[in-house]
């Protein structure tokens, strides 16, 4: 009898933590997505392009390097889901939203950086990903990822578009 209660506690605690992590994680994610959509909508007239050279008819007065960096980590629940995926393979959907948010946030920061510097467009946008290794209590695994977006911000003589 006692051992069943003990078993219940020992299984219940991790399951409870998982559900808690899911609840907190999805609330945070929902809020972040709402913020992303609103800011993307607001800044939609600010072009961020992957072109290496500016269009010939743009009259450029100044250029600057701009960057936006986002460091994200996994929550307990996403890690659990990804762990199960390790066994059977397939899309790690729980990481897709995480990385999607990080990329969009990084690009938005590039825009915000460029806008704050009085620029009108960003070209040659690049995205890079770096894995952060865990340092304390390491058993492999990862502490998180950094996504850096960078590009060349252009100050234009007059809005050419």
């Amino acid at each position: 009898m006692e051992s069943w209660i003990g078993l219940g506690i020992q299984v219940g605690i991790p399951v409870g933590l998982l559900l808690l992590a899911y609840a907190v994680g999805s609330a945070v994610e929902g809020r972040h997505y709402r913020s992303l959509r609103a800011r993307e909508l607001r800044s939609r007239s600010f072009p961020v392009l992957t072109l290496r050279a500016p269009p010939a008819d743009w009259r450029i007065e100044g250029i600057e390097l701009v960057s936006g960096s986002v460091v994200v980590s996994l929550d307990y629940f996403k890690r659990f889901l990804a762990g199960l995926r390790l066994l059977v393979g397939g899309r790690i959907a729980s990481y897709e939203t995480l990385l999607d948010r990080a990329r969009r946030e990084a690009v938005l920061r590039v825009k915000e950086d460029a806008f704050a510097r009085g620029c009108h467009a960003v070209i040659n946008l690049r995205l890079e990903t770096a894995r952060l290794n865990r340092t304390l209590g390491s058993e492999g695994g990862t502490a998180g990822v950094e996504i850096v977006a960078y590009g060349t911000a252009l100050k234009l003589a007059r809005r050419s578009f």
Binding site: A56, A82, L86, L87, S94
Partner: protein, 275 residues
């Protein structure tokens, strides 16, 4: 060149999967594969050990407890001799038993595959008479008689498969290891009762009475202050409840064993050896 500002579209990079649904599907799917596999391994071991001759068992598991690992306690040979005397009353005993002493304060005893009984030095320090020790040893012999020590292998194989799956997925670290030991504890209670009955029968056959059978357990709490901690490891695998003591009495009464008798004292060198 023209740039047309557009409303950003929703991302194509995110799968439209609900995380909880995915978790449920994955857990169920993995359980569906791993559990039958683990059960099959369990069943294979359970059935296999029934046909495993004791001689082969001893040979297979010889490495598990080589002579050198049986310990240098001077009481080891006396324990082994006592095991030998008790085992004579087991008709058709296929084992050549060996005994080992583990230097550890917590009183405990184990039956290892291959016919090895290991007792801790804490147990040897705690017993008050030869009869008390004989009951503990007889109990372990009971595990050999019912081949419980091999069935534990089946359980362990089952748990090993489950843990391997969990460890591969990285989920193992989120679940406490003790779940497995709890499961083991739950499994073995009936086996403990049956081993008790066998130990009692051996005790009766050797001494003509079963005095001292439960003595080690009832006496210890008085003799040692704060014994709870010391007993914990024994209790964990050998629940010695009032209920189990009652069961001992019932077994003794049903088999018409004399519960009173003169207990054989331990050799004079016993205490010296403990120092």
């Amino acid at each position: 060149m023209t740039f047309e500002p557009r409303t950003p579209r929703e991302d194509v990079n995110v799968s439209p999967v609900h995380p909880l649904g995915e978790a449920a599907t994955l857990v169920a799917g993995i359980a569906l594969v791993v559990l039958p596999l683990a059960l099959a391994v369990w069943a294979a071991v359970e059935i296999g050990v029934r046909f495993l001759p004791a001689g082969l068992e001893a040979r297979w598991f010889a490495d598990l407890a080589p002579d050198a690992a049986l310990g240098g306690d001077p009481r080891r040979e006396m324990v082994e001799a006592l095991v030998g005397r008790l085992a004579r009353h087991w008709e058709g005993n296929p084992y050549a038993f060996r005994a080992g002493v583990l230097p550890e304060d917590a009183p405990n005893a184990f039956a290892l595959p291959g016919g090895v009984i290991v007792v801790t030095s804490g147990l040897l320090d705690g017993v008050g008479s030869e009869n008390e020790l004989a009951f503990v040893l007889g109990h372990e012999l009971g595990h050999f008689r019912h081949r419980d020590h091999l069935r534990a292998l089946g359980r362990e194989a089952f748990l090993a498969v489950v843990w391997a799956a969990l460890a591969t997925s990285g989920v193992g670290s989120t679940l406490p290891q003790t779940v497995s030991s709890l499961a083991e504890r739950g499994f073995s209670r009936d086996q403990e009762r049956a081993a008790d009955a066998f130990g009692l029968a051996l005790l009766h056959a050797e001494y003509g009475h079963v005095a001292g059978a439960g003595g080690f357990f009832t006496r210890l709490p008085d003799a040692e202050g704060g014994v709870g901690a010391r007993l914990s490891s024994w209790v964990a695998t050998h629940p010695m409840s009032a209920e189990r003591l009652d069961a001992l009495h019932d077994t003794a009464r049903a088999a018409v064993y004399a519960e009173e008798g003169t207990q054989t004292p331990l050799p004079a060198t016993w205490r010296e050896a403990a120092q």
